[in-house]
């Protein structure tokens, strides 16, 4: 089973973020980057499927030069090849634009399955995988908790609300968005890291992929939410205070 796994590089979880005045993206100098955590689960799932069914795993990542690190991590953990869509302005893309680029790169591959994480830790659109499936014209399912592959079909366990699960079946090829926590991602061994140096990373640009994107959505501004905390003590007897509280909930908070 040939599997493409989409891996994104995102700012490290504990990186101190700074937003330049009026900017629509964070300042990237001085912060660390890491593999998008949900994609780590998708990668692990891809590696396990390959180990069970044979085939190869190709890691695809879009972003500036630094994002190759996400591919290298995938290669160190056992992916066979990498495809880097080199794009310094990728953060300006809306999910549809990202999905278009990814789809164009993935179409060049012979694959049976495409795996994505559930969402990215930076933008958190939660749509790229789904859009990708649409652009590839393939069936898809999201929030995957378990994958059983047999005879060219997938039996999938999806997580629903409130502790409910759902089993669905899909034919291959397909696109799946993997739920975080589905597995325990492996470590990259030092041997794996050395071996990865000899593995191929192909580099493509948007132009080479023939993708032109006109954003349908644009980030206007990003900002840190202002912490506003106003404590008001309602005085009077319990009965009076309760009455005042109801009043406030009705007319100020408008939750009643």
């Amino acid at each position: 089973m040939n599997i493409v796994v989409c891996v994104k590089q995102v700012p490290a979880k504990d990186a101190p973020l700074a937003i330049p005045e009026g900017a629509a993206w964070i300042r990237e100098t001085d912060i660390g980057f890491e593999l998008n955590e949900p994609d780590g689960y998708a990668l692990e799932e891809a590696l396990r499927l390959k180990e069970k069914h044979g085939g190869e795993v190709v890691a695809v990542s879009m972003g500036p030069e630094r994002s190759k690190q996400a591919i290298k991590e995938a290669l160190a953990k056992g992916a066979e090849r990498g495809v880097h869509i080199s794009d310094d302005k990728f953060y300006e893309l809306d999910p549809l634009g990202s999905a278009r680029c990814l789809a164009a790169a993935i179409k060049r591959e012979k694959f049976d399955l495409v795996l994505t994480g559930l969402q990215s830790d930076d933008h958190g659109f939660g749509q790229t995988g789904v859009l990708l499936a649409e652009l590839l014209g393939l069936p898809h399912a999201t929030i995957i908790m378990q994958i059983d592959a047999a005879d060219g079909r997938l039996k999938l366990k999806r997580e629903l609300e409130a502790g409910w699960f759902q089993w669905v079946e899909l034919p291959l090829p397909a696109v799946l968005s993997i739920q975080s926590g589905i597995n325990k991602p492996r470590y990259a061994t030092l041997k794996g890291i050395m071996a990865a140096k000899k593995k191929e990373i192909a580099t493509l640009t948007r132009a080479e992929l023939g993708v032109t994107v006109s954003p349908t959505q644009r980030i206007e501004r990003i900002y840190v939410p202002k912490k506003t905390k106003k404590t008001e003590i309602l005085t009077g007897t319990a009965k009076e205070a309760a009455a005042k509280l109801v009043e406030k909930l009705k007319h100020e908070a408008r939750v009643l």
């Binding site: 001085d30 990259a188 041997k191 050395m194 140096k197």
Partner: protein
């Protein structure tokens, strides 16, 4: 392997040459030059230590049977134990920068990093560098996987710093097939669960030699676990040999050449020790910074108090200087390795590298252990009473840190070694210390010249660094002139230690400055603001320390007119702009607090 990013421009610098040469920023390796693979090695190690080891600290501190061994096996499977072992013997054959990163990460738990150092460092290196092909094939793959746990057995109850006074003896059996060992060893890291013991003993009375002793050897026994102040998770025991027979082929290297094995191994061990300490300082900064925001006093977070910010800043500043030195040295070792002509035996060449940079390795050890002791002490202080309680990890870090100034050669011994090695290189003509000192004397006698500032953004700092080196030349020259061979005698140790402090601070100053200059060239001067503040604050204090040490030296070795002339020269070399270290530290503290971490990683 060749993960080094060393570019062709990085010329191979001689060990100790920092005192007589002025490399360009692009000639030195800095953490910003660490490549993707090297970062992945750090990442794997960090994930391993934080996910697998840290949750088990309680069990490890109480020596719960099997826990440490289990972790070592896991570490082995990931390749973390085989950094020093060439790939053909099952190791990872890491370059120095990679193994530096690895050591730093392991410092998240002192009990583990010491165990790692005993096994993968000083317990492995003797076999890698001095083993026969059979010995390497037999032991190294099993050491890499932790199937065998190794240890280094030099110290004895009566011979610690003075290791060559060891009394353990090895006599050839009557049939000539075995070595019979008799004696005792003390303080052996990993003693309790080691399977392989690299033991130093004397043959024919005075020929120090090295033997590989396996667990279960008759007459060989391991003492009880020592009750230590810290690094309780590591095992430390005495060993005893009573007519213990060791197969003849288990002699490592040659009879009478054991001290070469011992000291080369310690060169490597000392360098790594500084790396563990650097990692320890960074972890201490993290917990201290977080706590300073959680705790309030007088209606404010601790982090809002100037004196707390000063502590956080100073930890980061010392880490910055230490890190700049350590990665510069690691880069020099890797460049030295890369310069090997094809066909050279890589292992032999690595040993030469360790010898070449023995001065830098001792500096890493001394500076690292003292930076960590400073950091954990201030860490405890930031935690206040809670820092004095075992429920808080800084209390353990405080206890764990203390050993670093003692083992792998005490800091006193290493301070003296630094000067001894420098003098040896000067006398041997390897380092032009003597001609440089003579030239400086001429300069001094010619009287002050008006120095034109270059107008460069770092002109003042460059001058401070150049002056630090001049002060070393001035003071060491004066000391050698007065004391000559007597410099090595016990009654002049204070002078030697002061010279050593000057040399170390000069290396730290220059490495910090070159790193900032390299970053500024790469990213623009506007983008290195905080780093530059850290460097400036460091230089400000280091220049003071150097002046102080220099006065101490000159006062002891010069007198009369000579003393007056030299003091005037010192005054000239100590001249500098006023500076505002309080403001600089505030800037650094803000950066620490912004992310609750050491703010210059990979920069």
């Amino acid at each position: 392997m060749a993960t080094t990013t060393t570019t062709a421009s990085q010329s191979v610098a001689r060990g100790g040459s920092f005192l007589v040469e002025s490399p360009r920023p692009e000639d030195v390796f800095t953490p910003a030059d660490i490549n993707d693979e090297q970062k992945l090695i750090a990442q794997t190690t960090s994930e391993f230590i934080n996910d697998e080891v840290v949750p088990l600290i309680d069990d490890l501190e109480h020596h719960k049977p099997g826990v440490m061994i289990g972790l070592l096996k896991k570490a082995g499977a990931l390749g973390i134990l085989g950094g020093a072992i060439p790939e053909e013997y099952g190791g990872a054959g890491l370059d120095k920068v990679s193994s530096t990163l690895l050591s730093e990460q392991l410092a998240a738990y002192g009990g583990f990093s010491v165990t790692h150092g005993g096994h993968s460092g000083i317990g492995t290196i003797p076999i890698v560098y001095f083993g026969t092909e059979e010995q390497k094939k037999k032991y190294l793959p099993k050491i890499a996987s932790a199937e065998l746990i190794s240890c280094y057995c030099l110290s004895e109850p009566q011979a610690g710093s003075d290791a060559q006074a060891l009394r353990t003896r090895a006599d050839l059996s009557k049939d000539g097939k075995q070595w019979i060992l008799n004696g005792q060893k003390m303080w052996i890291t990993n003693g309790n669960y080691a399977d392989l013991f690299v033991v130093f003993a004397k043959v024919d009375g005075d020929k120090i030699s090295c033997f590989l002793v396996e667990k279960g050897t008759p007459g060989f026994s391991v003492g009880a676990e020592e009750k230590k102040m810290g690094i309780k998770g590591s095992s430390t025991t005495a060993l005893s040999f009573e007519n213990a027979p060791v197969p003849k082929e288990n002699l490592l290297h040659e009879i009478g050449r054991g001290h070469i094995v011992a000291f080369n191994t310690l060169n490597a061990g000392r360098f790594s020790l500084g790396c563990y300490c650097l990692g320890g300082v960074k972890r201490t900064i993290e917990v201290s910074s977080k706590y300073s925001k959680e705790r309030t006093a007088f209606g404010k977070q601790l982090a809002e108090f100037g004196l707390i910010r000063q502590k956080l800043a100073e930890m980061a500043i010392r880490a910055f200087a230490l890190e700049s030195m350590i990665y510069r040295s690691a880069g020099m070792m890797d460049a030295f390795m890369a310069s090997a002509e094809t066909g050279t035996n890589k292992t032999q060449h690595m040993m030469k590298a360790l010898e070449e940079y023995a001065i830098e390795s001792s500096i890493s050890k001394v500076y690292g252990s003292e930076a960590l002791d400073f950091a954990v002490d201030e860490g405890v202080q930031i935690f206040g009473g809670y820092g004095y309680h075992e429920d808080y990890p800084v209390a353990r870090a405080y206890r764990d840190s203390r050993i670093n100034r003692i083992f792998e050669g005490t800091n006193e011994i290493n301070r003296m070694l630094i000067i001894q090695m420098l003098m040896k290189r000067a006398m041997g003509g390897v380092l032009p210390l003597i001609p440089k000192a003579m030239k400086l004397m001429e300069e001094i006698l010619a009287g002050p010249s008006f120095e034109e500032g270059s107008g460069d953004a770092f002109a003042e700092e460059e001058r401070m660094v150049a002056n630090a080196k001049k002060v070393f030349l001035l003071t060491s020259g004066s000391a050698v002139q007065k004391l000559r061979d007597k410099l090595a005698e016990p009654e002049h140790q204070e002078v030697v230690a002061a010279l050593s402090n000057i040399a170390m601070d000069a290396y730290a100053m220059e490495s910090s400055l070159l790193r900032v200059q390299k970053a500024a060239a790469r990213r623009g001067a506007g983008d290195v603001g905080v780093m530059s503040a850290a460097m400036r604050a460091f230089l400000f204090d280091a220049a003071d320390r150097i002046e102080h040490e220099a006065r101490t030296v000159l006062g002891a070795v010069a007198e009369g007119d000579m003393l007056r002339t030299q003091m005037m020269a010192l005054k000239r070399f100590s001249k500098r702009e006023p500076g505002n270290p309080i403001a600089l530290r505030r800037e650094v503290a803000t950066a620490v607090l912004a992310g609750d971490r050491y703010p210059f990683e990979y920069r």
